[in-house]
Symmetry: C2
Subunit: 232 residues, 2 copies
DNA sequence: GCTCTCCCTTGATCGAAGTCAAAACTTCCA
DNA sequence: TGGAAGTTTTGACTTCGATCAAGGGAGAGC
């Protein structure tokens, strides 16, 4: 593991405040692995043996039931995922696959639990991380239950523009089929939703979306901080 | 606050393992209040000043956005709710209203955070509680994205029967309009879903549902432990 | 016991979303 | 460069769910 990777992991909110010794113990038990795109890292219903951290690349969290499948979230560097299953020593509720070539840090669950018991600062960070993750899923659930597909897409675009320091256009950074699953619709429906947004100030062309009328888009999307704002 | 109430609160997983002194400090800062049915206890977007514990009665957690409203969960005695907002000292993402006459214990957020910092056993319980809550919402999100309304209802009935030590019938313990919101559909649609389940082994009559063909109902519902099992 | 109100149900209709099929476009690799 | 495979788009159709409207039923209060 390269020194700059170590310091990036260390800079994560989850690991930032813990003692040096705890962090080092954690790292020594862990290993870093490279994966090509499309590799399933985690299968739901298996026991949670590792906490995973995306160092480089990208990971899609998804879940299947009754023959259907959906995407829960995307994880970009640097972030940890499936902390909850690790802590409760239970099975994963979600599966994970790489969407591109990735480097993943794998920390044994038992080590995480031991570090938590040994280092109150780390436990406090775990609390904060879990609370954030919980609120994030609640927002997704609200979005899913309170909005139509086109509205979810419009709000997703507005949020993406904010993240890309919005100059009136955005570059979509995931495949559209994955985006469709993320937003809770079929690829066909996503296409139609994009077509529908043309009348509301967003023109898509390939992976690029031009905001031709930002006010109109916002009026259609009705963004709500309690659903769309990542920090609230 | 009556002694038996105190011991019931103390028996909650969240408070069970903490030190006596921490628990007493927490209780001294808190107060217990009675509310008639239909009172809004918490409004989303307000700052999280109290951790609430339902001692008696019942509470509905709901959320609104863009003129629509939905129910996130029901809280029955004895359980705490909206822990995440309290810990992060942020605004509530959900509103809460009593569905019947209720007694609610209100613990100041600052006291909760202080207790957590002072008592590692309590912080560990908070971690466990948050992890459970997180997994519970993920299951709801999966149910919402992967199933039709009738399927969600069928699985909800099967789960309720388990909770009521299933003798081939269940008593619905919430108003159907609230159940509809909980399951992500309109009251009209819930009625039709019940009608549809008649052909799959579940006959509703008022608040009582007879399981005329349990196997058929399960075949239709396709229950999945990773969505429906409260303890996985 | 009666009425009023609220909840639940049923029916008709509309809009949103899934499915099936095929064409257009990309990307990647031989 | 020329496929080949996969992705995206479009179209036709079906299903699911929301909306509007009206009727039936159960409980609360007089």
């Amino acid at each position: 593991m390269r020194p700059e990777d170590v310091s990036e992991v260390r800079a994560l909110a989850l690991f930032r405040d813990m003692r040096d010794t705890t962090f080092e113990t954690l790292l020594q038990a862990s290993f870093l692995q490279r994966f090509p795109p499309g590799v399933v890292l985690i299968r739901e219903n298996e026991s949670a043996d590792f906490l995973h951290v995306v160092i480089e690349g990208g990971v899609e969290m998804f879940a299947a039931s009754g023959g259907r499948e959906t995407t829960i979230s995307f994880e970009r560097p640097v972030s940890a995922f499936i902390l909850a299953a690790v802590l409760k020593d239970q099975v994963y509720l979600q599966s994970a696959r790489t969407v591109e070539a990735s480097r993943i840090l794998m920390i044994p669950s038992a080590s995480v639990r031991r570090a938590m018991d040994a280092d109150p600062a780390f436990m406090a960070a775990v609390v904060a991380e879990l609370a954030t993750a919980y609120r994030s899923v609640v927002k997704d659930l609200k979005s899913q239950k309170l909005r139509t597909g086109a509205e979810r897409l419009a709000n997703w675009l507005l949020r993406l523009e904010r993240e890309q320091n919005g100059q009136g256009h955005v570059e979509i950074d995931v495949e559209k089929r994955q985006l469709a699953a993320r937003l809770g619709m079929t690829p066909e429906n996503l296409s139609r939703a994009f077509a529908a947004l043309k009348a509301h100030g967003a023109a898509v062309r390939g992976m690029r979306v031009e905001f031709t009328d930002r006010a109109a888009l916002a009026a259609f999307a009705q963004p709500d901080p309690l659903v769309d704002d990542e920090r609230s």
